[in-house]
Symmetry: C2
Subunit: 603 residues, 2 copies
């Protein structure tokens, strides 16, 4: 099926809403990045997504991966060739550091790249999905010899990498992992870089085997002899599929899963049998090494939500304009009187129009939230001012679980609503929309389930670090102040209603602050309380962020010379405010008005 | 995968909540139906669902149907044999009239049968899904010769039937249908029973071809020469696959759809080429003939939602009790202190517990709504009192779009939430839950999309027939009065909080009445208004019905000698009241506090 990259909408957010080029200018690492370069990168990325991987998406879903006896996995037709083209284009290295062979481009551009890749072909994009994390893990933790041997190959994309965390009994609870590793030389000190053998079983390993690269670099969580129980006894080990001397290592794919979606992605059951490898980072500090890359990995998963939301919304919008059924109860001003005798486009029917407006308002708002977070991440890593870096780091830590969970929620459920616009045609394969629903579902689960994101947000990022939320409150109130200033100085009397938006954002900030204080106060007597409403809190905060994003979009639209775009954005912002925000308010109300008990039923 | 029929919970609703046996006693047609017979029927049906078709469900999803050149469809392995067993068991004829060869059992029992069949295997259940509708259509409309030739075969299940409505350009808008029919004898009068030939293309025809029965009876909407445009020019035609003289008729299956789910159900593209058939009912009155069977067909689709909700909830509940991950922030009273050192069942984690309670409260409430509607349908068709029949008919007409849309919504989205309880395991095929998500999605679309149900409810059933809603308001207020009486006469001081439930139901009724009056008043100046909020209205009303259902369950539980069941039901009713109802209130608020405008964006 076809995919159209939303280049113009992406650029509008990058340049007009966030003014990312101004932020890049303040960071010496990005001295050579400007709006023109960003446009060029996105255009080329869009072409790759549209021309190379989008045409493979539907067929790969039907064909799936094949597990061959002996354990070799065959990916769908065209996947290996598309990978070679990706490598030749230099795409794997986009955000990696130049000293490691990367292009050193901002995370923001990498986020936009992955929005398009996932919108075009989620399954294919699973293969490079963990590259950046693997680069970070190897780059930060490997001893020089290991780093030299593996990092350039992974940065260039010549070899792909995997993350081996989950085991049959250890999913969200990695502390239950049983895979063992044993030093090869019992007499040598067990330190970073030490040679070990790994034995155990891992499941749900994306790309655990594939036919796209000659070698695969497995990063495996395993337990050294005598290691403590739980998560504090896990060591990260680098285990290549092919050893440096050319031998086949004992890392075997015993089968692949039959899944709801992303069928072109091989989800492997891995068996490590005396597999040779080397410790990556400090012994027993494997989980911390993994979590180092969690911010970018979770942001990445959030981009998957946005990619599906954008792509599914575009399919539904196009269909709704072309499909003629029944007469609408009213017609848009200026619609053709002659055509008015026949059936109308279903986009004119209020039930469909409302869904389309919901989807489009969410898509535009979600993109602002995601790109803003990516820009903050760039500043957290590259800004010359250490205090600003620290502040940005805190804000990113707060926003990351929201981006991961809220955007994947919007992406999956939005794709499902978009399917409904196509009716029976949405349920069949041809239009590609049911595949978006299936493919997007996994993003709510992996990299920490959305329920775990909600607990991470409320417990670790908000309640246990009271200062951190203040950063976000300040963002909301600063925007309100800017809106007010613009409303007061507007020559034409604030027709866009900026002052009303300012009041709304102040109200959102006050509610957020009050609800958080309520939870902070009541949790002492009721330790369960935050766990009961973590999901409500995350979704309510997501809507607060959408309100902020719509205000930013509205402000950016004011000076826009493109009248059609200006009108569209203003309509979508008003729609979000009037239709979507009120439907989420009950979550704050629940938190503030007393959270009911949760029963222990005989299940 | 396995399926466990919820016999005990079904019986509780039939006997304790609704006291259906008392209603049956009042209807001479059901003189022989009592609680024992009902139990016997349900037990046998449950055994069929569990033993015969549930084991085929997962494999059939992977295998799908095969279209063979020449147009013959092969259904999944085991489907034809299961059909023969169904026919031999006399199940197809369950609700059909005894004079037509049926068993004349209540719709309520047929509804319960289909809840189990769909929970066990939705795809297989598509084949008999339209049987009862076809029986009604042929029984009511066919001339005697036609009736004699086809009705017994369809009632017995020897032949299956299809409904041919949709065409590529005519989905929700059947008035756009182009399939033509032409009298064979141009000189003969064009009347009911006249021989015609049919030519045209139909799509999305469930069971359009299959290898389960020797013949297929297609009911086709087509247009006679000179017929009016639109829906008033459609004629229903009976077109057998095999003609009475043994010739193959010109009804060809040109292909089957690749779908998101119900893959074992053949969704056919049909080409009628000079196919021979006979007019069924009055010429140009085909749509009315179709709509005659819509109430039971839509109730049937609602049962599909319930079947998926029940089955998915059961899988998730079982998984959550067995799966041990992480320590829960608190433990149920009396839990084993020794086990408390290790990880806890995920059912103890608040985020999971809340999902499970949501799902179980909705399942129990939805079953009461569905069975009650089925019982009302039985009374509408079989009660000796004509006035009561008319009243029941009106109430069923009001409830039907809610049962269809609201229950399928709960079923699909509930299955999706249940998937989340299983995490990564939910995303793979083995547990069967992702299949429930995919299979259940279609029920929101077919037999009139849920958006069309919402418009049907609000426009045709409520606003255009002001008296009809009063019937439901009376039900709510009667229940409130009963609750109050029981609360007052309770010897133990109303510990179950019946008086609070009474107040809640009165409040629901008042809100429903007020919101409806608001819409009635404002639609004159704003004709679009009901279309903008029809979906909100349906879902809000669905929750009002859930509130009523929980009150009924609670009342029925009071005298229950089974303490575990009593406590479970009381916990679920309280959960629904405290957690679910407040999350839906904003829909009424929107309707009452002024519905915003809906923009016409440049999509």
């Amino acid at each position: 099926m076809s995919y159209t990259p939303p280049l113009e909408r992406m650029r509008f957010v990058i340049e007009q809403v966030l003014d990312a080029p101004a932020s890049w200018r303040a960071m010496p690492d990005f001295a050579e990045v400007d709006a023109d370069l960003a446009r060029e990168v996105l255009e080329q990325a869009g072409r790759f997504a549209q021309d190379v991987i989008a045409p493979l998406n539907g067929p790969a879903d039907l064909q799936g991966c094949t597990w061959q006896s002996g354990g070799a996995v065959k990916t769908p037709d065209g996947f290996p060739a598309a990978w070679r083209a990706f490598v030749e284009g230099g795409w794997p290295a986009l955000p990696c550091a130049p000293e490691d062979g990367g292009q050193g481009l901002p995370q923001l551009l990498n986020a936009a790249l992955f929005e398009m890749l996932v919108g075009a072909n989620h399954a294919w994009t699973m293969y490079p999905g963990l590259l950046h994390g693997a680069c970070e893990a190897i780059g930060h933790h490997a001893v020089p010899a290991l780093r030299e041997r593996y990092l350039p190959k992974v940065v260039s994309g010549e070899w792909l990498a995997t993350m081996n965390l989950t085991e049959p009994q250890a999913g969200s609870d990695l502390g239950l992992s049983r895979t063992r590793c044993k030093p090869v030389d019992a007499a040598a000190p067990v330190v970073n870089g030490a040679a070990v053998t790994v034995t155990g079983q891992k499941i749900f390993i994306s790309g655990g085997d594939q036919d796209m690269t000659d070698n695969i670099v497995h990063l495996v969580l395993a337990r050294l002899p005598g290691a403590p129980d739980g998560t504090k006894g896990l060591t990260l080990v680098l285990v290549p599929k092919i050893l440096p001397d050319g031998r086949r290592n004992g890392a075997w794919c015993d089968g692949i899963e039959k899944k709801m979606g992303i069928k072109g992605s091989a989800t492997a059951q891995m068996r490590f049998e005396q597999a040779e490898g080397w410790i990556l980072g400090e012994p027993n500090a494997g989980l911390a090494a993994m979590f180092l890359m969690m911010n970018s990995a979770r942001l990445h998963v959030g981009m998957q939500g946005l990619g599906h939301l954008e792509a599914a919304t575009r399919i539904a919008s196009a269909y709704a304009q072309e499909r003629l059924q029944l007469r609408a109860p009213s017609r848009p001003a200026g619609s053709d009187a002659a055509a008015a005798r026949g059936p109308d486009p279903i986009a004119w029917h209020p039930a469909m129009r409302r869904i389309l407006l919901d989807l489009q308002a969410r898509t535009e708002g979600a993109r602002v939230i995601a790109y803003w977070t990516a820009l903050l991440l760039d500043e957290a890593e590259h800004h010359p001012d250490a205090a600003l870096r620290a502040q940005r780091h805190d804000l990113v830590a707060l926003l990351t679980p929201v981006v991961k969970a809220f955007l994947t929620h919007l992406g999956h459920h939005g794709a499902n609503e978009a399917l409904g616009v196509l009716g029976g045609h949405g349920y069949v394969h041809d239009w590609g929309i049911e595949q978006h629903v299936r493919d997007s579902r996994v993003a709510l689960i992996y990299e920490g389930t959305n329920e775990i994101q909600a607990i991470d947000l409320l417990m670790r990022k908000v309640l246990d670090r009271p200062g951190r939320l203040a950063l976000l409150l300040e963002v909301l109130r600063d925007e309100a102040a800017t809106l007010d200033t613009q409303a007061e100085t507007a020559a034409d009397g604030d027709p866009a209603g900026l002052a009303r938006w300012a009041a709304l954002l102040r109200d959102e900030a006050a509610t957020l602050e009050r609800a958080t204080a309520t939870l902070q106060r009541e949790r002492a007597a009721r330790p369960d309380l935050p766990f009961l409403v973590a999901d409500d809190y995350l979704h309510a905060l997501g809507h607060t962020l959408l309100a902020w994003a719509w205000a930013r979009l509205l402000r950016a639209s004011l000076g826009d010379q493109d009248a059609a775009r200006r009108q569209r954005l203003q309509a979508l912002c008003a729609h979000g405010r009037d239709w979507l925000l009120p439907a989420s308010r009950w979550r704050w109300t629940r938190i503030e008005s007393g959270v009911p008990e949760l029963a222990w039923p005989g299940l």
